[in-house]
Amino acid sequence: MKRTLMLAAMLLAPALLPAQDRYDESMYYPGSFNWQFLKQYPDAARLFNGFDYGHAILYERLLTLPRDRATTALAGDFEFLTRDLLVKPPKFSIAEEAVMPEYARLAWPAKQAFDWAHLLHRQVYDLYADERLTPAARDALIERVTDAYLANSHYAFAAVPKAMSLMDDQPFSQRFRREQVRFNGLIWSYHWLQVGLYEPFLAGKTPAARREGVAQVVAHFRTMLADSTRYPSVMPMTAAVAPRFSAAHPRTAAIFDNLHMMHDIISDILASPTMSRDQKRSEILSQLAEMRNPSRNVMEWGHWHMMGEMMGGVGKMGGVAVP
């Protein structure tokens, strides 16, 4: 009898869980290029582990605390990030769900979509850092890992530029950047580095020049980090900050812009004082579906390439990574 009950419970479990999010962890595209960036450029690579923490703690604060307490907590988090964690970032990726447990439970698919896009970010760094690859082989592999990324269609952001109105002109839009100016600037400085780091690999003609270029871009980021008045005042767009990379791999660049827009969209939704948690989850999942859709609310590629000028100049975005 006990055995029958136990087996029945196990067999019935799927039927009892139809509306639950799936765990859905996937391996990213394999190849010997993986981990080359961490191996060759550990100081730069480890910064991204700190960025993950910053994104995670931000979402947890916005979701779980009222505005005034969130502001106070984020002020402390800002100090921790800029004076400690980003000064000496973790060696390996962090388990974000340990930093943002409430958010992860609320919007697991969105967390997975970010993780999947962050893996693509890292793989492209790895490919650029792998000096064993010829430029042609490297470029072919970047397209291939982008294809592998897009094949995971449940979580892949569209490979075409989505309209900026999705980030700026919805009922919930722009609340976070207005209420948390400094923390928003920090997030945008992350995004500047995340796309800007591709440029020295394309601009440098020798391994030494590429290494020097990476060091200069990281140094520029650290200059921004030390002085919040130098943070980007508009969202860094890949085509403006990293024009060489955007020309070489426009699909990948558009994915990263859509990822970064989605970061801002979720910040705004979480900062909303009028939405319930259920409404926030529903809105996040709705926006995620929109940002994955390559056929609606898209921007002309020509417009996308001009975003630097259209948004007030690339200087407001932190500047071109490698002038």
Partner: protein, 260 residues
């Protein structure tokens, strides 16, 4: 046998390049280093090669077991694997090859923990194996509380005690509750566990307390170690130590489009 074990280890070494990993230290495997596991499978299309060693001191002497294991993320949220436990001291030999399947139903939600089920088959084969194949099933739940997580495992073994292997046999009934605490900055996990098991119908329950640690050594390599004490066991109280390594990798040829 040892050729098989070393062959598996060599396979992992040669496929070392690609990897998800980096936070695998937080992905608990059964017996690594405590019996409880979490409700999360390895990533879809990832392989995980594990090598664990357990040393046990009993009233009658000592016993050591080496267990190589290979797991694979066969589908989303599902993994399969094989184990080859080998008893290394008196009566040394293979304790029957094992195969298992693991399926996760859901991510954690505001109302539900992560829930998974697992089925293991211990097959005959080897001097320390059972006479017949035996089956065990396990239900797993994981709930997180920030940096702290709890894991509840409930298991049931089918088949007679005489058919079970001499080492690492699934109990008739088993239950475990474990908690872990993560150090994000140091990529380390600390674990505590209490578990109970009944091996034969009507026998007294054995109780075990265990502690362990898992640490990410490289993006693809996790080191673990643990200690456990058991009371109520038929052969007397025991103390055991376990340590091991796990290595995650993938094979590009299995990807659509093949190797780069």
């Amino acid at each position: 046998m040892f050729r098989i074990i070393f062959g598996l280890l060599a396979l992992g070494a040669t496929c070392a390049g690609p990897l998800v990993a980096q936070t695998d230290y937080r992905n608990l495997d059964d017996g690594r280093p405590v019996a409880s596991e979490d409700a999360w499978p390895i990533e879809y299309r990832a392989f995980e090669l594990l090598a664990a060693s357990t040393f046990m001191r009993t009233a009658g002497g000592t016993e050591s077991v080496v267990t190589p294991e290979l797991g694979y993320g066969l589908f989303r949220n599902a993994m399969i694997g094989v184990k080859l436990p080998v008893r290394m001291n008196d009566g040394s030999g293979l304790a029957g090859p094992r195969a298992y399947a693991f399926y996760n139903f859901n991510a954690e939600s505001p109302t539900l923990p992560g829930i998974a089920v697992r089925a293991d088959v211990a097959m005959p084969g080897g001097r320390a194996a059972g006479e017949r194949a035996t089956v065990a099933v396990k239900a797993i739940a994981t709930r997180s509380w920030g940096r702290f997580r709890t894991h509840l495992n409930l298991s049931h073994g089918f088949g007679s005690a005489a058919d079970r292997p001499a080492v690492e046999a699934a109990p008739r009934w088993g239950a475990s509750l474990a908690g872990d605490l993560i150090s994000i900055r140091h990529s380390t996990l600390l674990l505590l566990e209490v578990r109970t098991a009944q091996h034969v119908a009507g026998s007294t329950l054995e109780w075990t307390t265990a502690a362990g640690v898992r640490h990410q050594l490289t993006p693809t390599l996790v080191l673990d170690g643990g200690v456990a004490t058991t009371v109520g066991r038929a052969g007397g109280n025991t103390t055991s130590l376990t340590f091991g390594l796990s290595h995650t990798f993938a094979i590009a040829a299995l990807w659509s489009g093949g190797a780069p």
